[in-house]
């Protein structure tokens, strides 16, 4: 049956719930890029589920019109995995904060990446706990002072891109909320990618930890001749401290967990008395 195709536009994906984010918040850039990515892909609203955690970033579910789930702090990835396993036909996006993904929920990402579940995880990294008002987060850099770290952060910051690469994510990219067209492109490719896609987004919090200047000084595009199939090179680049590279670090193909798991033939576990007794004969 041929459906009369009406072209979906950005407006179709935008709900009438007004974002509660502060003026200038990087998350507006992520929202805008995500809306455009959905429109670019012409995904039907009913085929998409956006799963979010808890935080300013976690509000995302309400601002988009596709199906959504708003779960517990840190648990967006397992929720999304469950959705995908139960209904592999859905396009599943996780949109969560740095605290969600790299502190309370840090145990989940490596496993989902290793399994290569076909979901797209977008980390909205503002290097702070926005919703609980400005405590240091696992991605806060050394020396960052906050209400909970008045003497400055003294622990090594988490490295989301490195974690994703080392855990076996098959698509790893970094975008910047102040560069929406590139971010849109990375989200589009992340969704198109068959397997676990991780898009790390620098999304500064203008209210509590304004890192726009910090990034503007440090961001750099990946070289034009960058080879995204070279995992080792990608890891070396992720370890660079003084530069914040943007673009597609790494992409590879690997079997997708939920597809493989559904193709397994049943194992014959019928208990046969004759066979059992034969071993004692």
């Amino acid at each position: 049956m041929v459906e009369t195709a009406t072209k979906l536009v950005v407006k179709d994906y935008k709900s009438d719930v007004k974002p509660t984010w502060c003026p200038g918040c990087g998350d507006f850039g992520v929202l805008s890029a995500s809306l455009k990515a959905l429109a670019e892909l012409q995904l039907k609203k009913e085929d998409v589920v956006v799963v979010s955690g808890i935080g300013c970033s976690g509000r995302m579910t309400y601002f988009l019109t596709p199906y959504g789930m708003h779960g517990l702090h840190g648990r967006a990835i397992p929720l999304a995995t469950g959705v995908k396993f139960a209904n592999p036909d859905l396009t599943v996006l996780v949109m969560a904060g740095d605290g969600d993904l790299f502190s309370i929920g840090a145990g989940h990402l490596p496993h989902a990446a290793a399994r290569n579940v076909d979901i797209t995880v977008i980390c909205m990294d503002n290097q702070t706990y926005g919703l609980t008002k400005a405590q240091a987060s696992p991605t806060s850099k050394i020396g960052h002072t906050s209400k909970s770290t008045p003497h400055g952060v003294i622990s090594e910051p988490a490295n989301p891109v490195l974690t994703a690469l080392s855990s076996g994510a098959t698509f790893v990219a970094r975008g910047y909320s102040a560069k929406p067209p590139q971010l849109q492109d990375l989200i589009v490719r992340g969704i198109q990618h068959k397997g676990f896609a991780f898009v790390h987004v620098q999304s500064p919090c203008t209210e509590f930890h304004d890192t726009f200047d910090y990034y503007n000084e440090r961001i750099e595009q990946l070289p034009d001749d960058w080879d995204p199939s070279d995992r080792e090179a990608a890891i070396r680049l992720a370890l660079t401290d003084d530069r914040e590279y943007l673009g597609l670090f790494y992409q590879t193909e690997r079997p997708v967990y939920e597809t493989t798991a559904r193709e397994w033939a049943p194992i014959n576990d019928e208990f046969d008395v004759e066979t059992y007794l034969a071993q004692f004969a």
């Binding site: 708003h70 517990l72 995995t81 469950g82 959705v83 396993f85 139960a86 939920e258 194992i267």
Partner: protein, 362 residues
């Protein structure tokens, strides 16, 4: 179906789950729960479902939430420490109004409260079934999936170490679910309607629905749901000898088989003792317990903990008759089994003592 088989409790639950069309199951190994994971791996593979040996209890239960929110049948299970870990999500899954089945593979009976009132935050209750045989484990699993969907709420099976490993003759029965309605709340990708959001702070609602609830309202709604469930979910119990019993022993789950056997022995000696075996732990079978309290001089609750179900019995009879607690925490050296308290000489001695004391005129 209909053929007699020799299988254990875990297999009975797993196969019933598959017959019920369970599409997804996740758990994390911990004894005596691990055997169920193995059985579920086998059973779901036969019907094209997925079993996940998850990275942790937290991951497992959240995956089950995701799967259940899509409207598919999903199941989870664990025991003791895993129970505590999963309650972060289980509390919210009641609020989010997702239907799923949870198998609590207990070690003794120290988690009666957790299995009925929960161990997390917010207002919630579990519909809770406690099978005492392999046959009943199979039947109640089917009933659990049905009830979960019918009332759109979590349902728990209270199984345990002995039931998991006990092999008995049983048969799988057909189960009529034809009155179940389509899940008009699922995140199932259906076309032609406003997409929905499943949220722990608002339940499931359609976008643009201005009446979507805020957290406080959701908690009030939870109270209404609890009252509705208590009223409408049939409570089940098995009773014996209530017509002539002076003392009624109340016991649940596998443990109740020992209690019932002990009651039988004492009756042969001429003692007028009856029993009530709650099958639904919640809603608690008040009718049967009240009936017992009407005729008997006293009730005696036997459970393997420091007295948990006894609270429900006392809340039911409200002082009409004395309610004695005759159980105790009792586990074998492994911590999994049921220990000395259920050994028949110990158990009969305990019931006899209660019966004789009761007979002494005050």
């Amino acid at each position: 179906m209909g053929d007699k088989q020799l299988i254990d409790g875990s297999k009975a639950i797993a196969h019933s789950a598959a017959l019920a069309g369970c599409r997804f199951y996740a758990s994390y190994p911990i004894q005596p729960n691990s055997h169920l994971i193995e059985e579920m791996t086998q059973e779901l593979a036969k019907i094209g479902g997925v079993t996940m040996n998850a990275e942790s209890e937290g991951e497992a239960i959240n995956m089950v939430w995701g799967a259940a929110a899509t409207g598919n049948r999903a199941m989870c299970s664990t025991t003791v420490t895993g129970m505590s870990l999963m309650h972060e999500a289980m509390s919210e899954m009641f609020a989010a109004e997702v239907a799923y089945v949870f198998v609590h593979m207990a070690r003794g009976q120290t988690e009666y409260r957790v299995g009925t009132r929960g161990g997390g935050h917010g207002e919630y209750r579990y519909i809770s079934y406690a099978p005492h045989t392999v046959q009943e484990a199979a039947d109640l699993t089917r009933l659990a999936f049905y009830t979960a969907d019918k009332f759109r709420t979590p349902v728990m099976i209270q199984a345990d170490y002995i039931l998991t490993h006990t092999v008995e003759a049983m048969e799988f029965h057909d189960f009529d679910e034809s009155d179940l309605k389509e899940k008009d709340w699922a995140i199932d990708g259906a076309k032609g309607r406003v997409p929905r959001i499943n949220s722990f702070i608002r339940g499931t609602y359609s976008l643009g629905d201005k009446s979507a609830m805020a957290y406080g309202e959701l908690q009030e709604r939870a109270m209404e749901r609890i009252a509705y469930l208590e009223e409408n979910v049939p409570s089940l119990a098995e009773t014996g000898h209530l017509d002539d019993a002076d003392l009624v022993v109340i016991s649940y789950g596998y443990v109740s088989r020992f209690a019932k056997y002990a009651v039988g022995l004492l009756r042969e000696e001429g003692m007028k003792i009856g029993f009530v075996r709650p099958i639904t732990m919640w809603p608690f079978p008040k009718k049967e317990v009240l009936e017992a309290a009407e005729k008997a001089k006293a009730l005696a609750v036997f459970e393997l903990n420091n007295g948990q179900m006894v609270d429900d019995v006392r809340l039911t009879v409200l002082g009409r008759v004395p309610v004695h607690f005759i159980g105790r925490i009792s586990q074998d050296d492994s911590g999994f089994g049921m220990g000395k308290a259920i050994e028949i000489p110990n158990l009969t001695a305990k019931i006899r003592e209660t019966y004789e004391q009761m007979k002494v005129p005050a």
